[in-house]
Assembly symmetry: D2
Homo-oligomer: 400 residues x 4
């Protein structure tokens, strides 16, 4: 497909590098930046035929089939509106909006215009994430009880991120959007998020936004989602997910411990790894950062979905749900209460009746625990269904 890139900063470069790698068919044909010099430099670097400092010009370029928004958060809405007017498919970097209200207007605009609205939530496309989601859908870890996602690092590179007006928040809007959507996928996108409790604080930096936050999201089926985000972490970029199910566990480490370890005395002088904070001692590079962060899988899904006229894994609707959860989180951080997730649109299940799968041992007892002892006996801990009394019994197998 032929692509217009809006933006020429850090994330635009990361996207462009992924798109032009590995002999892929899709090509960027135009780049827009508010600063014409940046646009030109970007066009040169990626050998693009066109650049401009007029956003509309890039979008309306007749060659362009799809627009990628890689702009600061406060410019997502106007850019989406321009795409809707031009009837150009649009895929937008995360978070979709600074608030759910903003995201809802973008969702409505693309749906009304009949264009494709893809949500560039790369961390829901990492190889490890996709494979673990498949395992969970296979039932390998049973019913999901808890899904935690953590993203922390020493803070973003660009100045606008630190300005609450432009970004819409701090570490939570920047990193929490990833974590919330990761947990939501693991728990099930059809399961309604009910309410959020969040602690957030500005522990280190002289900024108005939070640089550290921890939140809990309660889902209709009793599962709990959790996010941990920080701009004050020391040691690199820490990207980890943990899922606990009734039949198993999944632990994913996407960045700092991926089976690549290196010690250097620092005498070589090479630039070793991004956000690594140090350039000597033990370092933990990632083999292929873009792939490990999900970019190739994400763009493949987006462009193939456009061609096949189907929904991608992550849509503007998903972006809207994420913003609604984060809105509740921001409110909770202020009110110190569990705040409901307010959803003007909800397309998932509406039930709150879920089977816990409590096991009866016999007609009078529930089974609390069954344990194989080293001597071959089985220990049973039971609860009487009426009296509630807990008892313990041991079964010896007839022949061992």
């Amino acid at each position: 497909m032929k692509i217009a890139m809006l933006g020429s900063g850090f994330i635009a470069r990361f996207y462009a590098t992924s798109l032009h790698a590995q002999r892929r068919t899709d090509k960027i044909v135009s780049v827009y930046s508010r600063n014409i010099d940046n646009a030109e430099r970007f066009a040169q670097e990626y050998a693009l035929p066109h650049f401009t400092d007029q956003m509309e010009e890039a979008i309306q370029n007749p060659e362009v089939e799809v627009v990628i928004i890689s702009l600061p958060n406060d410019q997502h809405e106007p850019a989406v509106m321009a795409c809707a007017r031009a009837k150009k498919h649009v895929i937008c970097t995360k978070p979709l909006g600074r608030t759910a209200a903003e995201a809802k207007r973008m969702l409505d605009a693309v749906e009304k215009a009949g264009i494709f609205g893809g949500y560039l939530e790369d961390l829901c496309y990492t190889p490890k994430f996709l494979k673990s989601l498949e395992s969970i859908n296979n039932g390998d870890i049973g019913r999901v009880l808890w899904a935690k996602s953590r993203e922390t690092h020493p803070g973003p590179h660009s100045d606008w991120f630190w300005d609450i007006e432009k970004s819409g928040g701090g570490a939570m809007i920047d990193l929490g959007c990833h974590c919330v959507e990761i947990s939501r996928n693991f728990i099930g996108k059809n399961v309604r998020p009910l309410e959020v409790m969040c602690w957030a604080d500005t522990q280190v930096h002289p900024i108005d936004a939070e640089d550290h936050a921890i939140g809990l999201v309660k889902y209709a089926n009793g599962a709990i989602g959790q996010f941990e985000v920080s701009w004050a972490f020391r040691g690199g970029m820490d990207l980890r997910d943990e899922v606990m199910g009734t039949e198993g566990t999944i632990w994913i480490n996407s960045f700092l411990r991926t089976g690549f370890e290196m010690f250097t005395s620092g005498k070589g002088g090479g630039y070793v790894a991004e956000k690594a904070e140090v350039d000597k001692g033990w370092l933990f590079p990632v083999g292929d950062e873009a792939h490990e962060l999900g970019y190739p899988n994400m763009f493949t899904d987006m462009f193939t979905s456009i061609e096949e006229k189907k929904d991608p894994l992550e849509t503007f609707y998903d972006g809207y749900i994420v913003n609604a959860i984060l809105d509740a989180a921001y409110k909770s951080a202020k009110t110190k209460l569990w705040e409901p997730v307010v959803l003007e649109v909800w397309r998932g299940d509406d039930t709150d009746i879920y089977d816990k799968g409590i096991k009866s041992y016999d007609k009078d007892h529930y089974l609390i625990k069954e344990e194989l002892l080293p001597n071959g006996d089985t220990k049973l801990i039971l609860k009487h269904k009426v009296t509630g009394k807990v008892t313990q019994t041991t079964n010896t197998p007839r022949e061992k």
Copy 2:
């Protein structure tokens, strides 16, 4: 020293095995169990000269210098009271009480009787914990911002643990007491815990108590403590701590990943590891469980402190603080509010004024972030002290 052991169950065996290992000088001389057969069997197994089913008889045995309480939670208070009456030093397994009120009465009793009251919080004595505490006190990771401790496993072995009357709660009272005291040590025992937010639920088992809980503890210096506990985890026993400081990070894995990995087809038939859930495939044994869990260091501190008439690292007072934090957590899980930590006694700092260490860049600006770029330049992100405006600037070194 000469010891009376109260209790003959799982934890009493673990203690006794540690005490009688490695040519240590201290010896158990009497064991009490409500069930005389269990007492006799225990005495035989550890070659003890005396056993009884009368608690007072064990405590008042004239040979006995110190009493170890390894009884179910609801029997801690009467046992401590009996030690106080007999003026025998006492060390008690965790949690000290089922509630802060219970713990407070025990604290008062030992202090009034002038006897030693040691709190057997083994996980604050693990080799990794002690070494990391030393590093934190050296300033190696700067000011602690967040201290998380996690303990999860598939549920306890003994029936009484599953009975809320006897245990005083579920996973939170059982495992959360460890986590709370670990975080408190990392953040600083002198820093007052202010309030607690806790989510708790019974997700899997047919019991009245919670089998999964997550809590946040806010401290007076702005640091946040976190605990994650569960009786529904699959995969063994997961014991991990994570500390984030302004100058560094500490990650401790005390059980499931300690540098010992084993694959077995299961054809050997050996009993491989406790709580491992499976006996074939990849297993992760611990070299020396007792040592990794802190028992030898804990008993060394306790007996040496008694002899040297000084406080051990973990006292009845600490046990009381832990119970007070857990009381707030249990209340919060019901009210869904941040609940204050109610402390009748507080022996730490009373200030709530702590320096955040915000750095000025020049007289007009704060420094948000300083970043070394790959080309050798330094990028500075600054905030104006009056207007709050965020700006970015790049410094090129004169000569590189």
Copy 3:
């Protein structure tokens, strides 16, 4: 580019899946298998326009620009010869030949025909390998002293691999070819491999070939290469490299420990991972196997090199060197002697003079070791240049 695939087995499928993924431009247009049913099934599965059981027909198909050889080892030579006759570019799976003589004939044929001869050594294209090679070339770990590569698993899937006539050997020809070329890259392709010492044995299986081997390869600059291969390993597929340099260390784990850990009780029933041996307990899946094994990077390099008329990273010449080293290893396993690497063609450096970088401390002494003591002093261990006497001295800094 337009591709003919020779072969329809395990490795052909792996290649085809990689080639047709991620919206890549290159396409397979014909498949050959000796068994017409297999050819047809393969063509259907990958939606290919053409299939045949006549090798020449696939190669000479006028649409075909490049041929991929994914055949058993004994069929590489005739297939290459057919490509040379048809003047079609050819890329061939590893090992190039069963012996150096075979490989040499293939090398000569492609060079004489003026066609491209790419060697599909995927493990020299993994993301971790490429990044570590870049670090080594930057000098981050100094002079390479030792480069070990290890590949072990429970044995190949296809029957022909177990037949020494068809495969040319056992675990060493199958897996050792990877390891030898990995070490050679780390040490430097220009450095001449001198001689090989190899132990090989058939420890477990009722076969004629070795199922376990360990070898050392001495290089002209004093570096040592090492390979460890086995078809008797239990626990999955173990792919690890270790490099030791004068200024650093690199450890790569490409398969069994890549930051993805999963526990399952096995009740879900899903098929979890290839070669994992077990389907419950702790499992260690790989996110994207093909990418982690280097296929996408490898094909990108091959096709781009063809288009740009340059050598790929791995050529038929490299395949020939690898075969020559393995020939020496097989000989050594029999003679129990260090066997010279016999190279009819050598295109690298011919020197055996390399600087060890021994440091003088002063005009009379060499520096053996410099060590910073905890008290801030520096301890020096020196050797007298003439007498050889080792002495120790401590320097205290003027002001600390």
Copy 4:
């Protein structure tokens, strides 16, 4: 027991610290050092009642029941002879001798004198080692095929180690003695070591001894032992063992990756870890170094064995076998041949007939491999017992 310590250097301190920790009963009562100041300082530090610069005086001290030799390698023999004369039990640090001849004289001396001769091979007493040995003896990993042990670090602290006269060699005598005995335990102490192939070189340092060596030890049952040692490793102290058996695998990491990870910006200024090489960035401390290195378990076994008049796990005889294997290794490094292990005394099995456990599939075929396919079928790879022909067949279960 009452102990005389010979030596006051690095290893003597490590031993003394372990002995006087954890309320152990055994006490050092005298210390000898050639340098009286060192002896006095040591005595003060460990609160010892006696010190001397006369070795005989320490040994013959009537209070002394057992002597610990912590002297440079060249002084082991005279010290053992003095103990034999004084009829004092003796335990000696590793390696026992510089050569097998030396070790044999020491072995003969203690046996003739009727005293206890314990070999302080601490790494055969680490918690992980003891537990894995137990698993192997249980049959959990089947028949051991390969046992590798690796010890590398940036070189020893003391000057005498670098002097080949005093130490008897380089990295191989220093570190290889550990590795050889570890492998021998895993393979079975009763299995005769037959011959050794060794590569050794001085790759980095201006010394006469080797600073890097790799060796293979062939055992009578077909198992292969392997050691990798270096004084040129960068990144700390790397202690790892790997065992491959027909039914399983064991991987032990005893030092650099034990579940304790720490990042520090270095602003704290604390001294973090021994041999860590760096004091900022990612560090990997060990919780309790002495315990992780086996000291407490080792001394417990030694003193308990003396009291119970039984052999400890590691005796002078074991030390002698290790020296004999290392003698062969040193010879092989020079001759470049597999050198036989010359044993004047051998107390293990004398057979070389061992069952490989080759499995028949039916009366005509051996089973090469059985593999469960994803579709539930079982694939069998068979070899004809007479013709040697390899065939493949697939079994579909009746009902799945």
